[in-house]
């Protein structure tokens, strides 16, 4: 291998460099751009703190010259930073969520919704209602119904106008069942609705007792045919001890008839307009009649929709049954512990409180350590890449 002297290498490099033809307009382009973008800052007061020691790669890349392109490498670095920042933010959100999660979330709650949802809490003004509360011993009879004749017995009489009475019924029942029979009672209520050609709109159960001695409980919303409402209500009451019963029936016959008559009237008008349309000869007449027909059709469809909703409400009655088991027996207060007992229990409780504290603090500490680890990892990666690129 021959020795490469400095002179030989210098000659080689000069030879190689001279092979590149210098662009004729390169210097003039620079002058044009420099003077064109100078905008009067010839005193160099923009960032002019550059000397031999202060010239750094960062200082020269922070200020991109006009027309400078952002390379894919920069975009990739930014993407990496964005992904790292996203991971940290996600970890932070998860950590905050864990920290804020309530410690008493131990009540399993099952919620099932099925079938059309109807609100049973909106009171319907003007309808007969009654309330019966055995625990309070008060009964508030209303004019049209009595306990011996449940609302189901009242339904479809015929109005003087020949229209059958339309009644929208709702009811709520508070039922207490023996201990351990909550689930079977919920199932029996579901069976009741199914057997009556109805369906279950909503169920909610809490199977385990709460921390404050509350008993297991659940609620079922049944949608049953209006004719079967009374029978279903009676069968439901048999399943346990009825503590509170509220029913409400709203007579919507007038509204129903009104809607029907308005629809009939509008349909008649539509027929007349159709007859006029058939006789119309000019374009302007046809368009005018057509506009009226469109308006009429829109009104008819709107009223038909309201009628359908009303029909559905009177077809199915809503019965909300709240089922709960009896509350746990009240335990007699323990006798006051002696001094040694109290000291021993305080000691044990303090020990477990300490363990709880350590375990509780471990989560945030672990989160912080993991976050710092991610930041350190990304920083190390970027630092090595930067070093590799700057050499």
């Amino acid at each position: 291998m021959p020795a490469l002297t400095d002179d030989f290498l210098g000659a080689l490099f000069v030879e190689a460099g001279a092979a590149f033809e210098v662009p004729a307009s390169g210097a003039s382009d620079i002058v044009d751009r420099a003077l064109g973008t100078d905008n009067g800052s010839s005193d160099g007061s923009d960032d002019g703190s550059l000397d031999e020691g202060a010239v750094t790669p960062a200082a020269e890349t922070d200020e991109p010259p006009p027309g400078r392109r952002t390379g894919p490498g920069t975009l990739r670095s930014h993407r990496l930073l964005a992904v790292a920042a996203g991971l940290i933010v996600l970890a932070g959100i998860a950590g905050v969520g864990l920290a804020l999660r309530p410690a008493t979330g131990s009540h399993p709650t099952a919620s099932v919704a099925a079938g059309p949802q109807r609100s049973t809490s909106t009171p319907k003004a003007g309808g007969p209602s009654r309330s019966f509360s055995p625990t309070q011993g008060t009964t508030q009879p209303q004019p049209k119904q009595s306990l011996s004749a449940p609302p189901s017995a009242a339904p479809q009489s015929t109005s003087p106008a020949g229209q059958s009475t339309k009644i929208a019924q709702t009811g709520s029942l508070d039922l207490q069942v023996p201990k351990g029979t909550l689930t079977s009672t919920i199932t029996a209520l579901t069976t009741l609705a199914t057997r009556a050609q109805g369906f279950v709109a909503n169920t909610q159960t809490r199977a385990h007792p709460g921390e404050r001695g509350t008993s297991p409980q659940g609620s079922v919303t049944l949608e049953v045919p209006e004719a079967s409402f009374g029978a279903v209500l009676h069968d439901a009451q048999v399943l346990g001890k009825s503590l509170n019963l509220t029913t409400k029936a709203t007579d919507v016959t007038g509204k129903y008839v009104d809607l029907q008559s308005r629809i009939t009237s509008l349909q008649a008008s539509r027929q007349q307009y159709l007859a006029i349309l058939a006789k119309a000869t000019s374009i302007s007449d046809i368009l005018a009649v057509q506009a009226q027909l469109d308006t009429l059709q829109s009104q008819i469809e709107q009223l038909q929709g309201q009628l359908a909703v009303l029909t559905n409400e009177t077809t199915y009655s809503t019965l909300t049954v709240t089922v709960h088991e009896p509350p746990p027996a009240h335990r007699p207060a323990p006798r006051a512990p002696s001094g040694i007992d109290r000291a021993w229990h305080d000691s044990v409780r303090g020990f477990f409180d300490g363990v709880d504290g350590v375990v509780g603090a471990a989560g945030p500490v672990l989160f912080v350590v993991l976050s710092l680890g991610v930041v350190a990892l990304v920083g190390r990666l970027l630092w090595r890449r930067w070093q590799r690129h700057n050499l």
Binding site: A19, A34, G48, V55, G71, G73
Partner: protein, 181 residues
């Protein structure tokens, strides 16, 4: 500093800067862009020239940084165009065709050998043997210590010596030690 200063500055430094960038980047178009960016940056920071003892290493540093930007951000991700390859736009000097071909072949050989070197070795060796900077000025230009520059130059010389095409040129009597073929 006025327009005449910039023109004088370009007249003195544009050609060596452009060819230095060509040898580092191996591409004439990229070199032209890098040098243009470098001079525009230098022009923007011209106010600090008063505190600079020698403008040459400072200017080379700006050029080298512009070349680094090209190498780091754009060139690795770019689709090579047919007429813009590393060895494009190389023309040999001389009047007769044989001499031109010989010079062109030497230039291609050197450029190919330089492209085989990593950038960390390519930059100092180009600054040393083309721009004729001292090790201290190279250290200033690339932001490294003189000891680092010395070791990199040594490693670059070793690798160039191992390149068979460079070794063949060293054996040929056509290129004398003054660079005249």
């Amino acid at each position: 500093m006025v327009e005449q200063d910039l023109e004088a500055w370009l007249e003195q430094g544009y050609v060596p800067s452009f060819r230095t960038a060509c040898l580092i980047l191996g591409n004439r178009a990229d070199a032209e862009e890098a040098v243009q960016e470098a001079f525009l940056r230098a022009w923007r920071f011209r106010a600090s020239l008063a505190s600079v003892s020698s403008i040459q290493p400072w200017l080379y540093r700006v050029v080298v940084n512009a070349c680094y930007s090209k190498l780091r951000q754009e060139i690795p991700h770019r689709d090579h165009r047919a007429d813009d390859g590393p060895l494009a736009h190389i023309a040999g000097r001389g009047s007769d065709p044989d001499t031109m071909a010989q010079h062109g072949q030497v230039a291609e050989t050197v450029l190919h050998a330089l492209q085989q070197l990593p950038v960390s070795l390519r930059v100092p060796v180009v600054l040393r043997y083309y721009a004729d900077l001292s090790e201290r000025d190279i250290a200033l230009a690339i932001g490294r210590r003189p000891g680092t520059v010395k070791s990199r130059l040594h490693e670059a010389r070793r690798r160039l010596g191992e390149d068979p095409s460079i070794a063949a040129l060293a054996d040929e009597p056509t290129l004398d030690q003054t660079g005249e073929a």
